[in-house]
């Protein structure tokens, strides 16, 4: 896409040239005609796009007897600390742990950066939990067509955590430099 003019935009540009050149020529000295050739360049690049592909899932876990954490890595691997040790070793059904993923699409070779919030909150009626979000590698780069970004998180679960399913959202933004 770089360096090419979209066909749709050629027509307006040409019209603009014609509209301006024509009135200007009215001021040319009488008895003569002067022609100047201007050059015009426009480069339309593919807009950057980021879309959410997979939800960040922590799966099912038993409520602990002491506060602990559950971490889902950017590859979807599960680890636990403190009171949560062993509490995730239960049947997960069809919604087991997985990393969150996003796909960035943009102009090949163009530098961009991604901003990820440091935390997210998941809630259910009357209760909430906090997730510390992280990813791997630099959140900048030059996509060759597309680039996939994986997001992991560390969930903190307290001994008094209300039983139930918690959900939440977080915003990830991709921008050209």
């Amino acid at each position: 896409m770089a360096g090419r003019i979209r066909p749709l935009l050629i027509a307006p540009i040409l019209l603009g040239l014609a509209a301006l050149v024509a009135p200007a020529s009215a001021f040319a000295a009488p008895g003569g005609t002067a022609t100047m050739t201007g050059s015009a360049n426009a480069t339309i690049i593919q807009p950057i796009s980021i879309v959410a592909v997979n939800a960040l899932r922590f799966g099912n876990m038993a409520r602990p007897t002491a506060t602990g954490t559950v971490t889902v890595s950017t590859t979807g691997a599960l680890s636990t600390t403190a009171g949560m040790v062993g509490n995730t070793a239960i049947a997960q059904g069809s919604s087991g742990p997985q990393a969150g993923t996003f796909r960035v699409t943009g102009d090949p070779g163009r530098q961009f950066f991604v901003t990820l919030p440091t935390s997210a909150t998941v809630t259910r009626t009357g209760a909430s939990m906090t997730i510390a979000l992280f990813t791997v590698g630099a959140l900048t780069g030059s996509p060759v067509g597309t680039l996939d970004i994986a997001v992991g998180g560390t969930l903190t679960v307290s001994a008094a955590q209300t039983v139930g399913t918690y959900t939440g959202t977080y915003q990830v933004t991709a921008s050209y430099n």
Binding site: M61, R63, I131, T165, A174
Partner: protein, 169 residues
Amino acid sequence: MKKIILASIITLASVGIGATPAFAGSGNTSTATGTATATIVAPIVLTHTTGASLNFGRFTTGTGGSVTITAAGVGSVGTDVTFVPGSSTSADAFTVAGDGSRSFGISTTGGNVTSGATNLAFTTTPSATTATLTAGGTSSFTVGGTLTVSGTAAAGSYSGTYTATVTYN
């Protein structure tokens, strides 16, 4: 002249971009909303039924042998061991509470019963090694076992403990 033309072109180009819905926003930035989920389930809780115990009954050792109690509490003896009249036996009992309809595993250890300096070893067998909590999140199981009796065991009342563990599958 050249400058004026360039300025006009830029203006027109901008109008063209603005009028195209696909390019809404600057095109320099895009934001996506990710979703996060987690499900907390009720912890599994094992409770020993008050007053219940794995009771091997009253018996004579003879030259030794064994006493077996089924998970239903029915006693039987092996080799030279004999129940005395009036002996009663029982299986142990536990209740389980947790996440409704969730499957769990049951494991029990063996142990020793002791009287004075004499130890007699026993093994245990739960009524099931896996079970599923009801929709309301309750369940129960019983535990039987086999006691090995030596022919030299002194008369007396022997007691001991063992451990039962339940784990979500």
